[in-house]
């Protein structure tokens, strides 16, 4: 049996994993990255529109700061987010953007003077400040009060991933490509690494490490219609779940992006609407202002997606042979803008639809897009249930996004989490108490277990076909666990999924190759995907309220009284067909921003009994600070101290044109 020993095992070679690896490497620890694909192919590259950070460079971003980014993020999350984590995030995001700039990221920049833009369907002239000339530009995105989304045309994720990946290469960080982690090696509440499989040769080996990081992205492929890449099957989520001890948080929180091209589900960026694109129905009418007079097309994604489906249900969809859709119209942005700022969108429209988006409308319909749920961790990124197990990025639930993530906050989260969690992992490895005697016997047992299980699969004469089971699961998820959920559909879907899970124990495989074998891979993955699907289904069924992207037609109100809490899903018994759920309450009395109306969407939530008192307390602290002439930092500190939670090197204030840094050391 081959054993690889390293300090930090990073599972996943996307932005979060690579940035965490760089972080620990900078602190002198060795990192090994396992990646299903060459890292630059990771799904991070598909992020188009941009990354939120309150730089406040553009004129429409003037006055922006951490406070506003924080409030937008918490409102976006429908108060599901951990506000401490949201604070840590918004303070680090500008640093992440500037670090990337110093590493070579080709951020789009500001030209001083007049420029013509489209705002709310109207041509408007904006005048960029002279002293902002050459600084990083921001565009508008949904659910934000200021223009805050930094971008590189509409290939932001690609450019970020290449920048970070090249920095990892520069530091000589080892990446094992086409290697999949099959299970975590753990004992007595301590994680020691993972059992891995080479997808080309089939070799199974163990990777032992002081710290293990899950940074495997989302689980969009549980759904039939998704913007996610084919590798986004939630296998990192499954690694944690299958330990039986480390739970997943809020798996029922699944985001649907308003503009997946129809019917393939390929993403066209929110930047289209941020830059002035509008949604139209079969009549060609712009309908969002009727539903959301304030934010219109730029309400949060959960709200826009829901309104679109609602509009289709009312009979306003465009009929096609694949079903109904709506239109995204960016023609008024003009050819020049599209060819410079939305060029990936243009390429996608040309290649997959055969249309020129400067001339014609784009057929769109909401598609699964983001997994808010993930491996539940503390603010340090470590699982409180399994020492030495960390998670970062989309695979984690630390929990920045609550029940709905804002556009532009995901690629931001990947690098920010990589920076923060990377430091905490390095601290963890620095601590002599955390050094390990390589548990070779345990590793051997774990490797043998995986080998036996795959051998049994290969030898099986089972009746079931893995690809077909997967397709059935995706169909059920899209039908029953989508944008509109109802007890009947959820229950029905759950029963079907349970049956599929049982059937997945009887999969047969025709090709017997031990090495590259897509059927074998599909077989062991579909079993894990079904468990994840069931954690979504069960969590959604139990949560009898509507919050963010989780919308129950039979319980349309957000219910803070009963449900201001995070779902935890454990899978303690391998033979079970449902996860065990428990809940973690959010503490209203400590919130900087107590629950209220989001500023868009329905205005009908049920109050938490402690909200009023907390709101009163917050108001009192605010007015007191105001009368005393305290600055925003002091006020924030009084409302919800968090700075101590950040690694020391990330605690500094962020400089802005209108907010110069004093010359402090």
């Amino acid at each position: 049996m081959k054993t690889v020993i390293t300090d930090v095992l990073v599972i996943g070679g996307g932005l979060a994993g690579l940035r965490a690896a760089i972080g620990v490497r900078n602190r002198g620890h060795e990192a090994l990255v396992l990646s299903l694909v060459p890292p630059k192919r990771s799904h991070s590259s598909a992020a188009q529109g941009g990354m939120q950070a309150s730089l406040a460079n553009v004129i429409r971003g003037q006055g922006d700061c951490e406070d506003i980014h924080f409030e937008d993020t918490v409102r976006g999350s429908d108060w599901g987010a951990d506000q401490i984590v949201a604070r840590m995030f918004v303070n680090t995001a500008p640093k992440a953007v500037r670090e990337l700039a110093a590493w070579g990221m080709p951020w789009s920049r500001i030209t001083a003077g007049d420029r013509e833009v489209i705002i709310n369907g109207q041509k408007t002239t904006l005048t960029e400040r002279q002293d902002a000339h050459g600084l990083i530009a921001q565009r508008d995105f949904g659910g934000t009060k200021k223009w805050r989304t930094c971008y590189a045309s509409d290939g932001t994720g690609h450019a970020m991933l290449f920048t970070v990946s090249d920095q990892a290469i520069r530091r000589g960080i080892a990446v094992r490509e086409r290697v999949e982690a099959l299970s975590l090696i753990h004992e007595g509440g301590r994680c020691y690494g993972a059992v891995a499989r080479d997808l080309v040769t089939g070799e199974i080996f163990s990777c032992l490490a002081k710290a293990t990081v899950i940074a495997t992205g989302g689980a969009g492929r549980l759904y039939r219609v998704t913007t996610n890449a084919v590798i986004c099957e939630g296998m990192g989520h499954a690694l944690a779940l299958e330990t039986g001890v480390a739970p997943l948080g809020n798996m029922e929180a699944v985001q649907f992006h308003p503009t997946g091209i129809f019917p393939a589900g390929i993403l066209v960026t929110e930047g289209c609407r941020g830059d002035g694109g509008v949604l139209r129905d079969a009549e060609g009418r712009r309908f969002m202002p009727d539903y959301e007079p304030e934010k219109k097309e730029l309400a949060s994604r959960d709200v826009v997606s829901r309104r679109m489906e609602e509009h289709i249900r009312k009979g306003n969809g465009v009929a096609s042979r694949f079903g109904e859709h709506l239109w995204l119209d960016i023609t008024q942005l003009g050819r020049r803008h599209i060819e410079h700022n939305l060029r990936e969108v243009k390429e996608i429209c040309e290649s997959f639809l055969g249309i020129d988006p400067a001339e014609k409308w784009i057929p769109v319909r909401p598609a699964q897009h983001y997994t808010m749920g993930g491996v539940r961790t503390k603010y340090t990124g470590e699982s409180p249930w399994l020492e030495g197990l960390f998670a970062a990025g989309e695979a984690a639930c630390w929990d920045l996004h609550g029940f709905n993530r804002l556009g532009g906050n995901s690629v931001a989260e990947t690098v920010v989490a990589g920076m923060i969690v990377g430091e905490f992992i390095a601290d963890f490895c620095d601590d002599p108490n955390n050094s390990i005697d390589a548990p070779l016997t345990l590793a051997k047992t774990c490797v043998r277990r995986e080998e036996d299980s795959l051998r049994a699969l290969l030898a099986s004469h089972g009746q079931e076909n893995a690809f077909r089971l997967c397709a059935e699961m995706q169909e059920i998820m899209t039908r029953c666990m989508g944008i509109f959920r109802h007890a009947d559909g959820l229950q029905d879907g759950m029963h079907h999924l349970q049956r599929l899970l049982q059937r997945s124990r009887d999969i047969g495989i025709s090709g017997k190759s031990w090495g590259s074998n897509s059927e074998l891979v599909a077989a062991y993955r579909v079993r894990r995907m079904l468990k994840l699907a069931l954690t979504i289904a069960h969590g959604a069924y139990q949560r009898t309220e509507s919050r963010g992207a989780h919308f129950r037609e039979d319980f349309p109100q957000r219910n803070d009284r009963e449900w201001l809490k995070r779902t935890l899903a454990f899978w303690p018994e391998e033979e079970a067909t449902l996860p065990t759920l428990s809940y973690e309450s959010l503490d209203v009395t400590k919130m900087e921003l107590p629950p209220g109306w989001r500023g868009y969407g329905a205005k009908n939530h049920i109050e938490h009994p402690e909200t009023e008192a907390r709101q009163f307390a917050v108001e009192r602290i605010r007015s007191h600070a105001q009368t005393q002439g305290k600055d925003r930092f002091t006020l924030q500190e009084q409302l919800m101290p968090y700075l101590e939670c950040l690694p020391a090197n990330l605690r500094g204030k962020n400089e802005r044109l209108d907010e110069p840094l004093e010359n402090e050391e």
Binding site: G104, L135, G515, N654
Partner: protein, 250 residues
């Protein structure tokens, strides 16, 4: 009646050296909007689970699925079956290490190339104070850098390259394009003398025979023709400069 399309796929798995390379024929019913991503998955799921190929984003963004489609390197995910003839040949990209069937190891080659050409930003200062306002850059310069940064390392340019066919150590248009990208970046402190050390020979810019199939096949339509020509001029000038220096030293 719907259209039947034939795919003759080059099959070979180096893990099973006893099976000689051969073309295997698959028949598929074309559907509306069907891309090669959909077609190949359909073949794998319904006809032959042993078929190997690579897709990741299936949206033309990640560059995983480059292959020879009727002899031409292209991204399979962006190829519509409706645009193909009734009978087609699919083969793996040449030049790269074969993993099996249509899957090749571009990742390993690209990492080697990146290390060899040190294609990362060589900034003056390694550590910046990230609390401070960023360095300025003109919008046009930033866009010009982004233009070259759009490369997805799919390998099409190398697979189509005449030089690469003869010189396995040629850095390819992808490598030259990356040098051009960092050369265009005002944050990079390297000078032509430094770039000359990396690409100033036949494995680099002087190996290019200007056949420029790279330019024709690039799925991101990178301006490879002008960039390579420009680099060659600069590097040739550098040759003269350094030759002059050496002479004067003597």
């Amino acid at each position: 009646m719907s259209r039947q399309v034939i795919f003759n796929i080059l099959r070979y798995n180096p893990q099973l050296p006893n099976v000689t390379p051969h073309l295997q024929r698959y028949l598929l019913e074309a559907a509306d909007g069907m891309t090669l991503f959909i077609a190949l998955n359909e073949i794998r799921e319904h006809q032959d689970a042993t078929l190997q190929f690579d897709f990741v984003c299936r949206a033309g963004i990640c560059g995983s699925c480059a292959m020879l489609i009727n002899g031409r390197p292209r991204l399979a995910c962006r190829t519509l079956v409706a645009d193909l003839p009734d009978e087609n040949t699919l083969a793996p990209l040449p030049f790269f290490e074969l993993i099996g069937d249509l899957s090749v190891n571009t990742g390993k080659w690209m990492r080697g190339m990146s290390e060899r050409l040190s294609v990362w930003l060589h900034a003056q200062e390694m550590e910046v104070d990230t609390r401070r306002i960023e360095e300025r850059m003109d919008a046009e310069t930033a866009e010009a850098v982004y233009e070259l940064d759009r490369c997805v390392e799919c390998g099409c340019c190398v697979a189509a390259c005449g030089t690469a066919r003869m010189r396995p150590d040629f850095v390819g248009a992808v490598g030259l394009g990356k040098i051009a990208r960092f050369r265009a970046d005002p944050r990079d402190m390297r000078e032509d003398a430094d770039f000359y050390e990396l690409i100033g020979d036949d494995t680099g810019v002087f190996g290019c025979m200007s056949l420029l199939a790279c330019h024709d096949v690039c799925p991101k339509t990178l301006p490879l023709q002008t960039q390579i020509a420009f680099l060659r001029r600069k590097m040739a000038a550098q040759t003269i400069k350094s030759a002059g220096k050496k002479t004067s030293l003597r």
